[in-house]
Structure formats: structure tokens, C-alpha cells
């Protein structure tokens, strides 16, 4: 699904959300929220090793590196090697869960474990440390996984939503790594040595660890040290190579792809903005009104509620280290695609030209400010927020100031920011399905 929902919607704060932050001697940065009510701990470890660092001809390298890190750990220091099944059993026996995955920017490792008894917590952290630090890179497993992934990619390409998302990403990002397509061909070029090389960039000095759970600062510091203990120690971190920025579109592009489906999948948009953009809050509030705010957004009102044209219609930004796309998406009966597209484009044009009304702005603020506690009502949600602060070097009081920042947004702020960031006359449009 091409549901481009902003990756960084989770911000918030509660005066009670005290984030503790420190840097370890290794350079690893630690962010902790103590949450003692439930005897459990959630940890996320992030590295600058995501898909944006994949060579174009080896797109998917970050994903498969993360995948293969879960397929076995090597013998070291008297501890026996564990294959993928032994790892699965070990995590199940601990009643804990560990995962690795890569996004466009980050490679992330997540651990969820009980904190009682202490020996169990210790074992879970040690096992996680081995997966982070000592993957065994089994060749036969990679051959199998490559075959499986390639088959799944070919299957996905039989679906109109996948084809639309691929064509759209390609047109919006062009040469930028954010738009690179992982395919059976790129997987065929990836070797275990490529993965070892990506893994070698994971050093403690580059790690950002976020922890939420029933541990205190001293425990968190010791756990963080243990989690990174099996990565190379004592190395200094040279800056990683710069990744180019997403370039603006020079001209509009309309792509129609015939497909024998019941519905047409419609996507349009352009490169958006970077997470560090000073207009983050006007753009957040504005998009909530335009198409991010669920049943009350303008796009839902015009496309779904008034005309019954689509089950799902949305707009979203995806700001990251680079300017992720602004995307409007909907699906509609194939013969209605032109009408739905016309309506949605008009909504976007009007919004960029005139901005929201005073009443819309008030409604958006009421919802965003009022619902703020819902962004922090579980350890899992807190972890996402803390990791976001860590990754983007946001101030530690970011959550405490969040509602005030939303409240301070004005109508001219939104108009100005949208007119600067969006050019409705130069957007990419992809329609898959319906008559060519």
C-alpha cells in the first residue's frame, strides 16, 4: 500500500515526560524515559545506515542487511554459534522479542523484554547484543532469502497499488536514493560482503539508543553498554559521506498505466520538506486540515463524504533527513479516476492558494492539542517519540513545548509555508488502472 502517512507524526508531550540524555564514553547517545508501572522494557537502537546509503544498483542492501542479521550469530568468546532456529527458540524461551529493520534514513534494532527477574533481562540484552554485533552471515540462508524476496517482489508487482507506488516514487525522486526500487535484479547483485561492509559502519559512536521502561538511569547505562559491547570498540567515527538532496521537479508529469483492475490507484505530489525545516509546525497543522486529519479533513470531505468516490483519501508529508514526498492518494472505481483526480487536485490548489479558514485552523488546533496525551499513552508510543527526538537532535523539552508550538501557528504561517513548499502546477501524477 502506498499509504504515505508522515513517518514523524509522533510528537507530543506531557509535562511528566522527563527525558534523560547522556553520552557514553564510546560516543553512544542514550535517551531514557523511566516508566516503572509495568515490569517491561522497550529499546530502540538507531544507526545512520538506512536505504539512503544504498548504491543504486544494489537497492535494498540496508533491508537485507537488517534481515540477515537475524539469521544467525557467530561463535565468539566461548559462546557457541546460533542458527536462525536456535535464535527463534531462544527469544521465545525468554518471552522477549527482537527485530531489525531499515527505513530510508535509519537502520533500527528493537528489543522488548520483561525486566523481572533481572537475570532474564540480562540474558535478553546479551542475546540482542550478539545479533547486533556478531551476525554469522550464512551463505545458504542468503540464497534462500534472496529467492523468497524476489518471488514476493514479483508477486507485489501484480498489484495496482504497488505499481502506482513504484512509478510515483521513481517520478518524484528520480535519481535520489529515496526513490530507488528494490528488485530481483538489485538483490541479485548484493553479496554478503556488501552486507558485511554496511554492518561495519555500525559503531558505538554512531549509535542512538532510546529506552522506555522499568529501569533507572544506572541500569539503562549498563544495558546500553552491554547492547553495544559486541560491536568494534574504541574506534572513532569519521563523518559518513554526504548524501545528495532531493531536487525539485522542473515540470509536471502525468503517467497513466493501463491495468485490468476494478479500481484505479491515484497518486499525485512532489518532493516535500526536510524534518529540520523551520516551518515543520505550520506544515503539520496545515496538512492535518488538508488531508491528514482523518474524517474531518478537506480531502475526505470533498472526495469521500460529499461524492462517495473513495474509501480512503489522504495527503501526507514524509519529512526525513531529505525532502520526503508530499503525496495525495486515493483509489476509486476505474471509470471515476478522472473525476476523483480533478476534485482532489482542486482541493490542493485551493488550499495552497488560499490556506485554511479561521474555523478550520481552530478545529485542527483543538484536535491536535487536545489529543496530545494520546501520543504518549503507552511505552511503545513513548519510545517512538523519544527515538524521533534522538534521531533528529530535537531539544529534550520538545514534547513539553509541542502543544504551544501547535497553538502558535497562524493562518499566514500556513499559507506562506504551503506556497513555499508546494507547487501544484508542477506535480507528478500517477494513475494505475482504467483505460490507458
Amino acid at each position: 500500500m502506498a499509504l504515505t502517512v508522515p513517518t514523524f507524526v509522533g510528537h507530543s508531550a506531557h509535562a511528566a515526560t522527563a527525558i534523560q540524555h547522556w553520552t557514553q564514553p564510546s560516543g553512544a547517545q542514550i535517551y531514557l524515559v523511566q516508566s516503572p508501572a509495568i515490569p517491561m522494557l522497550d529499546v530502540q537502537v538507531d544507526f545512520d545506515a538506512g536505504g539512503r546509503r544504498d548504491p543504486a544498483d544494489k537497492a535494498g542492501l540496508a533491508d537485507v542487511t537488517a534481515l540477515m542479521m537475524g539469521k544467525g550469530v557467530a561463535a565468539r568468546d566461548g559462546r557457541p554459534a546460533l542458527d536462525e532456529n536456535q535464535l527463534g527458540e531462544a527469544w521465545a524461551d525468554l518471552g522477549a522479542g527482537f527485530g531489525a529493520n531499515a527505513g530510508s534514513d535509519r537502520m533500527s534494532f528493537t528489543l522488548r523484554t520483561l525486566t523481572q527477574p533481572p537475570e532474564l533481562l540480562q540474558k535478553a540484552v546479551e542475546l540482542a547484543a550478539r545479533e547486533i554485533g556478531e551476525p554469522s552471515w550464512p551463505e545458504a540462508v542468503w540464497r534462500r532469502e534472496r529467492e523468497r524476496l524476489s518471488a514476493a517482489l514479483r508477486e507485489a508487482r501484480t498489484r495496482p497499488g504497488t505499481l502506482a507506488a513504484l512509478a510515483y516514487d521513481h517520478a518524484v525522486y528520480r535519481q535520489h536514493p529515496y526513490g530507488q526500487e528494490t528488485s530481483p535484479e538489485t538483490l541479485a547483485r548484493i553479496s554478503l560482503d556488501d552486507m558485511r561492509a554496511r554492518h561495519a559502519t555500525l559503531l558505538p559512536c554512531r549509535a542512538k539508543l532510546s529506552l522506555v521502561g522499568a529501569v533507572d538511569r544506572a541500569q539503562a547505562d549498563a544495558l546500553a553498554t552491554a547492547l553495544l559491547a559486541r560491536l568494534p570498540q574504541g574506534q572513532s567515527c569519521a563523518p559518513l559521506p554526504a548524501v545528495p538532496e532531493v531536487t525539485p521537479l522542473a515540470a509536471p508529469l502525468d503517467e497513466r498505466i493501463a491495468f485490468p483492475s476494478a479500481q484505479a490507484h491515484v497518486l499525485f505530489g512532489q518532493p516535500g520538506y526536510k524534518r529540520e525545516d523551520p516551518d515543520f509546525f505550520p506544515l503539520l497543522v496545515g496538512n492535518h486540515i488538508l488531508g491528514g486529519g482523518g474524517f474531518t479533513s478537506r480531502l475526505t470531505e470533498q472526495v469521500r463524504e460529499k461524492r462517495g468516490l473513495s474509501y480512503s483519501v489522504y495527503s501526507g508529508f514524509s519529512p526525513g533527513l531529505h525532502a520526503g514526498a508530499f503525496t495525495v492518494g486515493l483509489q476509486t472505481r476505474a471509470d471515476q479516476a478522472d473525476e476523483a483526480l480533478r476534485v482532489a487536485r482542486q482541493v490542493v490548489r485551493d488550499f495552497v492558494a488560499q490556506g485554511p479558514t479561521e474555523a478550520e485552523l481552530k478545529a485542527a488546533k483543538d484536535n491536535l492539542v487536545g489529543s496530545f496525551p494520546l501520543r504518549l499513552d503507552s511505552n511503545r508510543k513513548l519510545l517512538g517519540n523519544v527515538a524521533n527526538i534522538a534521531w533528529h537532535d530535537l531539544p529534550l523539552d520538545y514534547l513539553d513545548r509541542w502543544t504551544a508550538r501547535v497553538d502558535a501557528v497562524t493562518l499566514p504561517d500556513i499559507r506562506r509555508a504551503f506556497q513555499r513548499v508546494l507547487q501544484p502546477e508542477r506535480m507528478v501524477t500517477v494513475v494505475v488502472g482504467g483505460a490507458p
Binding site: N85, E89, T296, S371
Partner: protein, 476 residues
Amino acid sequence: MLLASRAAPRRLGAALALAAALGAAAPASAQRPAPTPDTAAQQFTLGNGLSVIVQPDHRAPVAVHMLWLRVGAMDEVDGTSGVAHVLEHLMFKGTDKLQPGEFSRRVAALGGRENAFTSMDYTGYYQQVPAARLAEVMALEADRFAHNRYSDEEFAKELDVVKEERRLRTDDNPRALLGEQHRAATFTASPYRRPVVGWMGDLDALTAQDARAFYQRWYVPANATVVVVGDVDPQAVLKLAQQHYGGIPARALPVRKPRPEPPQPGLRRVQVKAPAEQAVVSLAFKVPSMESLAPSPGSDDALALTVLSAVLDGYSGARLDRALTQGADRVADSAHASNGLYGRGPQLFVLSGVPAPGKTPAQLEAALREQVARVAREGVNEAELARVKTQWIASQVYKRDSVMGQAQELGSLWVQGLPLDADARLIERLRQVTAAQVQRVAGQYFGDDQLTIATLDPQPRDPQAKPRAAPAALRH
């Protein structure tokens, strides 16, 4: 995901959060009892028959308010499939006091998030709000529970939205089509044979009056429960519920026809041809349902079957993974097992998978059945049993992290007529299941006669094919 809303969770068998949690690889540890929440859930019944269930959780200043109805797609009759789900959409379209869309605008103004869901067994509506706003969403929900109202024009537009939902989720989704056809072939008399979203032909013929009649019939206080979880006091919630829901007049609950599924006289097969690259094989075995937490032969077997599903597929590297998806000559790219355990209708044990390149659906079918046969021949070992039980116990701790998840569990237990502490008691019962019981059920329920097999037969996409034209009947 946010907009994938007013949605219809559809699963073969009962769509139960608990069963899903048991099937998923959630963690745990066998030696320690799960810590219990500081305050247990409480249940009340109002004078008009409406239930109220409250679970305090004071970690954050929030509350989730849910209204559950013991009515879903299984309560529909022929010709109006999908009406339970269409009605769920229409509940957002107004009341005597509120214009279409006004409900959502008011919830949003309160800082709320909201949605609704329909399954075979139940329909639910919810709002997540700052705890201080509970009274206001309760007033809104009680109003539409008693006074839902919309024009025929609003009905027609929303029906178009639901048809788009069906196209998106089912018609253009070969694996969902397979599931729909599989259900339809598996059940003969049971209403579980119908898709929650409804057949397109029935949606074409559905009228506003059908939806209003369904609402009149089933949306009565004795068929509903209010669930509140969060930073609240049970007595205060009870008072609010009396104030807002207590005045809704009691009405008789309609008589439900049992519509039991007759014994299956032999193997059934269904084939679905659809544009795809990969085949899919799915085997559904009719199995007993857990009728209550009290020991009984059927319930004991249902529990043992759930343990069997976890031994086969409860964690990464479990039996199906190991035997079918690994090695140079692997037969599958994926392989899964799940047991329905309980629901308002008949339950299924499902084995499914995607054949590996070069392998046939028939080979995968045989390999899946061989793994069950192996358990029947050789049994399971104690380490496997301990492992799956450990995971369930840990999951009892982790589930407390989600206010929403707790409310969903309480609501779905009420739907089934189970007590509020059923989840913990269920895990106690699962812990008592022995290796011998697992071995016995593996030998008992996996013959041909209670089996229905569905196969997705992938078709190449014809590049010359014209887009499917919408029949004229759709345009209105």
C-alpha cells in the same frame, strides 16, 4: 492506516484479538505469574439491560470509550449481506440532532480519535480521548445509539464508499478473494459463509430501509456493552453511563436462529483463478469451539488445538518454518497454522502457505498435512510446550502497555459471553494442556471429511485485456 477506518476486519472464523495474540509470536516466561493490574475490571448492568465494563489504568490522562454490539455479519439474512457493516458507516451520518459528519467534527474538537469496526460476530465503535472528555463522547455515542438518522441520499453516497472499500480490499486483492471463496465453500448453513463486507450484488440491491430495519432490530440496550479503559474511576463511569445510556428504553432482544453447520460429508475443494505470480494453498479443518472456560471434551480439545497451532507456528523457527521453508529443497516460501479457538459460530483450524518456486500446491498441501500427522505419530516435546506457554505468560504483561488493546480484549470477551478475567484463566487452562492431548487432537481432527481446501491458481495478466467495465447497475 488512519483512514482504513470504519473498517471490516475479516478473518476466517472469529476475529478475536485474543486468538490473534495467541497465534502471534508474543513472548513470555513460564516460572512467573503475570503481575495483575492494581485495579481489576468491573462490570455493571443498567436497568435497561446495557452492560458497562470499566478497567482503570492511570498511567496516562487518557480514556478509551467503546460501544460493542453483539451483532455482526453472521446475524444478516440472505440478500442483505454487508448490511451490518454498511450500518456501521451510517452511524456517522447523523442523528435527530446531528448533521452528517457532525459526530466526527465534535469528537475531533474534543481532542479525540475515533473509528469503528465490524466482524462476523460483533460491531464496535470507539473514541480515544483525554480522560476529562469522557462524558462528552459518551453523550455523543449514546445519542447515535438511540437516534441514528440519515437521508436516502446520504445512504446512497455511503454505499458507494463501501463498494469502493470492497473493490480495494477484496476485488483487486487475489488473496482476499481466495479467503472469501474459501469461507463460502467451507460453510453451508452457517452464516460464516458470507463476507463481512457483503457480496457486491447484495450491496447493489441494498436499501436505506434494510439498514434502518437492521438497526431497529439489533441496536437494543440488552445487546450492547460500554467499555471504558483509562484514567477513570469505575463508580464515576457507572454514574455517567446511567446518565447518558440509562434513559434509552429497554427493548426485547430478537430471537437468534442457531443456524448450525451440518456435518461435512467429505472433502471439498475450491479453486480461485486470479492475476498473481504466486499460488496460495489454504486448508480449513472444522474443529470444536471452546464453549466456556469450564472443562468439557470439546473445550479441552479446542485448547489443545490452539497449543498445536503454536507448536507448529508460534515462533520463528517453529515446526512449519523448519520443515517447510528451509533447506535446499524447501517446499514453501511461507507456511502458517492457526486455530480459531472460540467465537459465536463454528471454528476452524487453518493451515496455509505459498509454494516455493518450482513446487506445486499439491506438494505444499501434502507437506502441511504431514507436519500435523507427524505430531499425531510422534507427539511434541516438553521444550516446545514450555516455550509456547512462556510466550503466552509474557504476553499477559506486554498487553498492559496498550489502553486500546485492553478495551478490545474486554469487549470481545463480553461478545462471547466470557467473564472479564477469561484471558488470564484461559492461559491457566492452556498451561495445563499436556503433550498427550496435543498428540491426540492432531490425530483426531485432520481427516479428509472435515476439510475444505482452497487454492489460488495464479493467472498471467493479459496485457491486451480491457479494464473490467463497471456494470451499469453500479451507477447510481
